[in-house]
Amino acid sequence: MYQNAPISERVAMIRAMYRAKKPRIDLARYKLVTEFYMNNPQLPGVLKRARNLRNLFEKMPTPVRDHELIVGHLGEEFRASAVYPEHSFQWVLDELDVFPTRSVDPYDLNPEDREYILKTGDFWIKNATCAAIDEVFPEEYYRDLLGNGVLNFTAKNNSGSPIGHYCGNYWTVVDRGLGSVLEEIRAKKAALLEKGLQGNEGQTLQFYRAEETVVEGIILYAKRYAAEALRQAETCKDEKRRAELLDIADRMNRVIDKPCQSYHDALQACFFYQLGLLMDSQPHGISYGRLDQYCGKYAEADIASGKLTREQAQELTDMFILKVAEINKLWSEGATRTGPGYTSGQLITLGGVDKDGNDATNVVTYMVMQASARLKLHNPPLALRVHEGTPDELWEAGIETTKQVGGVPLFEWDKVAMESLMRRGIPLEDARNYCLIGCVEPCICGCDFANSGGDGNNAYTILPAALWCAINNGINPFPTLHRSTVKKELKPTGPQCGYLYEMTSMQQVLDAYKAQIDFFTKWQVTMVNCYEYLYAMNNPLPLLSATMTGCIESGRDVMWGGAKYNGAGNSSIGHGTVADSLNIIDQVCFRDKIATTRELYDALINNWEGYEDLHQYILGRCSHFGNNDPEADKYLKFVADTYSEGITRGTSPRGCHWTAGCWPVTLNVVMGMFCDATPDGRKRGAPLSDGISPVQGMDKNGPFATINSILKFDQANYANGTLCNMKFHPTALQGAEGDKKLRAVMETYFRGGGMELQINVVSAKMLREAQEKPKDYEDLVVRIAGFSAYFVEVYKEAQDDLIRRTEMSI
């Protein structure tokens, strides 16, 4: 049976340091960017971004810490968190004094750094991209739609995250080296000038100049680390460490620029390239993709030739994973609630098939998983691609890892994910090369700008709010989320389809709901397309574009549609809540006539108060979605299809259709707080349903029925990913026999049309105990939603939601 090998002393020490260290806000990046932006207002977007990044590459500190074999940092201090003012900054100023003490993911901040921010922060109020966002969004939205609760383009000047959610082309960095890319860029530029610029090629020229600037820059940046290692080696007394430092110096002089020669090179190159991407843009779902495919052949060659023992290779892998884990994303308190636990969304994808469809497992697949399992790390998140040809040993390794580190890895079924990508128009051979981004979003590795996180802030369509608009003449009655900004009387924000008590048939209810979804998805697309317009101008991504297949060839940045494939993703929240609500309206008002539409409407408006009989009847006596009852479950399909048809109708400025997704992170809890009572029996403020799962606690017929119900819509229509959480009691899955049974449950779900599963093997009892005695459960990792986290670092409401999710036990 699968077992963890012992951890090396050095790795154990780094891990202990990682767990003990409270992250600190580090101003190295902030200071350089602020100074650069203040001094260079004349630069147009693409050149400003490129030279800003180049400036960082030339001036950022290059710490090489004791014991490190893989180097690179986003700041001075261990676990430092960089600050990205170019995108948005008001929230940093607003929350400056809360960072060290806030309940979710606190950060330390030095007094002098605080002063520096206060002194310079005002500059960013007008100079951050989000100041311009307010200018480009149509005033009709603010006039007519504010407070709808379905979409959340609300507050001014506080969009916390930039466009993120992509995966660079690591193969180019590892196998070719960026030196050869630089030659290609220079040749392109020279040819362009030789021929003379035609048409729009003024833009093309700026693009190549930007590319040249940043690629030279990152090569230089690597060599600066080499110089630092060499400097340390000169004074190092410890012979062993001295040799290591010289080795680092040698490596940093070669990698990034030249092709890799070893597994160690490959890991360093991947990490350093990612560091470059993170230097340019906030860690917002910037994912590693198929790490085992980039590095596998190097590891296998090194082990075969005796250059590395398996233990040494594993130690390097451990250190790599710890380096990735070290990177935090500093978020506003509100946004942190959607992804608590110091996550940075740098998802690594493992396993799957090669371009010919053969199983692609290699030694790195196992080593990365082993690193997560034995270090008990939730970060970085791992996705394991599984298919009919996945080796038994890999299934076993994946399941044992997920039992030890809740939800790591998540399991993604190749067939359904690939089918969804092919419906985006991607040919089979490329679809086989998909990875997952951010939480669970499929995207082709290295050639697809899938932008699965929308504009980075408002990637969600909150379906239960649309249901409210449908039964309340376009008015969402409980949009407290925006009460601070909307003081006016509640008014219709969606199409006015009348009130539930005026409706005389289920078809009318369904038509009203569909009208809302069509309306709000149209606006979702409208708003993010405006955002993209601005981004293409102000925030191109030059380093990403240097490797992403298609950009250098076409002379266009990824933000200008230069990648070989393009996508634009959205996610939705509350499938289960709406499906069950429609089911209950049908059952109670039309089919069984237990209550009139007037009574049900009044019950909802009054949060069930005075309607206890009806409330209890709905919860206890009605059939609910999630119990394999076709009458109840048919509404899941309706809800899923209505949303996916609505959003998929939209097109992006980069020439692709939008894609549907369903992964709520913990927004189902947060958005639930701002959603009025719903017909399924949910009270005002309670969490919405999670992912594509039934309403918490309403699936009463065990996991078979739950799974059969969930499978009633076509997940391949969700090219932006679906998310399904399952929690099992440990006693149900003990030992090797338990692993086999868990695998069988997963395979049944997948073969039935399921795309993704994440498993928690913990008892509700254990979680309650962890709430009470957090000290005893510091290392308990659980899958929250699109990511895993240390349970004790998650805020109470999300902990409670996790406990409530039906425990699948015997």
């Binding site: 206890e612 009989d613 209890q616 009847y617 919860l619 206890g620 006596r621 394999n628 017929n701 065990g702 996991p703 078979f704 029925a705 059969n708 149900a732 899955l733 338990g738 086999k740 049974k741 069988a744 449950v745 395979e747 049944t748 073969r751 039935g752 699948m808 015997i810």
Partner: protein, 315 residues
């Protein structure tokens, strides 16, 4: 088509036979094992069950159950603390001497604290219900387990269900006390892939004293099943002070040995007291309570069984 009575259907059953299974629990049993952990399985009639955990309190439901009862059998019972609010809730108590299990109160208890335990299915309806889980059986090498109570007490129904399942290629296990005429047992043999077969005590007098019936018929049926080439998974509930002495365990093992290749495995099931609360749902009485056997004791007994050349496991 015959109707049968069940008290539960449980999917994702991982302990009653190979793979992942769905277990159908039939209601009614001729034995009265004092350690039974499913007391609701014993009576053949439908029984009113009350689960304190689900009760919303008389103030919340406005005493609907009390008002519905034609026999005045529901009175105010113990207080309980609401888990979420910490409030004290007034709950109910069923006067069993007055209750005739008519279910009128359960009909009005939307929270399903009061339920009528026992649901009737036609064999066709049950087979269709069980077939919904087929995809799980296929990937895990699982199937359906028909359990009880004692399924053989509803033999006509059981045979129709077994036929229906076999027609769809489902692996079927029958969990039985073995207490039935051979003619009854024999009717299941064409369809059952595996018998989960209880051996509680080798001494017939002690057997009868404890569970109410002697064991000769049970042993004879086991021999005949073995002779008919059927597979058995023997289960010994290890009950402190009743059957856990070395002499009885040796005698049981020797009997299993005698059955030859038919016995695939002998499972030792340690007594547990998790069923105790269930008695209070359907009665005022409490069952026997004992300290579960220690892990060491179980290991010792397992070694004894294994020493007879049997594949022994602790379940």
């Amino acid at each position: 088509m015959t109707e049968g009575r069940l008290y539960d259907i449980q999917g994702f059953s991982v302990q009653d036979g190979p793979g992942i299974r769905t277990t159908a629990f039939l209601k009614g049993c001729p034995l009265r094992c004092p350690w039974c952990h499913s007391p609701e399985s014993q009576a053949f009639y439908k029984q009113l069950s009350w689960m304190s955990m689900r009760c919303l309190g008389l103030d919340a439901c406005k005493s609907r159950c009390m008002k519905a009862c034609p026999k005045d059998a529901i009175e105010e019972g113990p207080l309980k603390t609401d888990v979420q609010t910490g409030e004290q809730l007034r709950t109910v108590h069923v006067k069993r001497d007055l209750c005739d299990n008519c279910g009128a109160c359960a009909d009005k208890c939307y929270a399903e604290a009061l339920t009528l335990c026992g649901k009737d299915y036609t064999s066709e309806a049950l087979v269709n219900r069980l077939l919904q889980d087929k995809s799980f059986f296929d990937t895990s090498g699982g199937g359906v387990t028909i359990s009880g109570g004692e399924p053989l007490c509803q033999i006509d129904f059981v045979v129709e269900v077994l036929k229906g399942l076999k027609d769809n290629g489902i692996h079927v296990a029958l969990d039985t006390t073995g207490f039935a005429p051979w003619e009854t047992m024999e009717r299941t043999t064409p369809y059952v892939d595996l018998y989960l077969y209880d051996l509680k005590h080798m001494d017939s007098a002690k057997h009868k004293a404890a569970v109410g019936v002697p064991n000769e018929q049970i042993h004879e049926n086991a021999r005949k099943l073995a002779a008919a080439g059927k597979k058995l998974q023997v289960r010994i509930p290890v009950i402190p002070m009743f059957n856990w002495d070395e002499e009885n365990i040796r005698a049981t093992a020797a009997f299993c040995r005698e059955l030859g290749d038919a016995v695939e495995v002998v499972q030792l099931l340690p007594y547990h007291n998790m069923g105790v609360m269930k008695y209070l749902r359907i009665s005022d009485g409490k069952p026997m309570e004992a300290t579960p056997p220690s892990d060491e004791k179980m290991a010792e007994l397992k070694d004894i069984v294994a020493s007879y050349g049997l594949n022994a496991t602790i379940h």
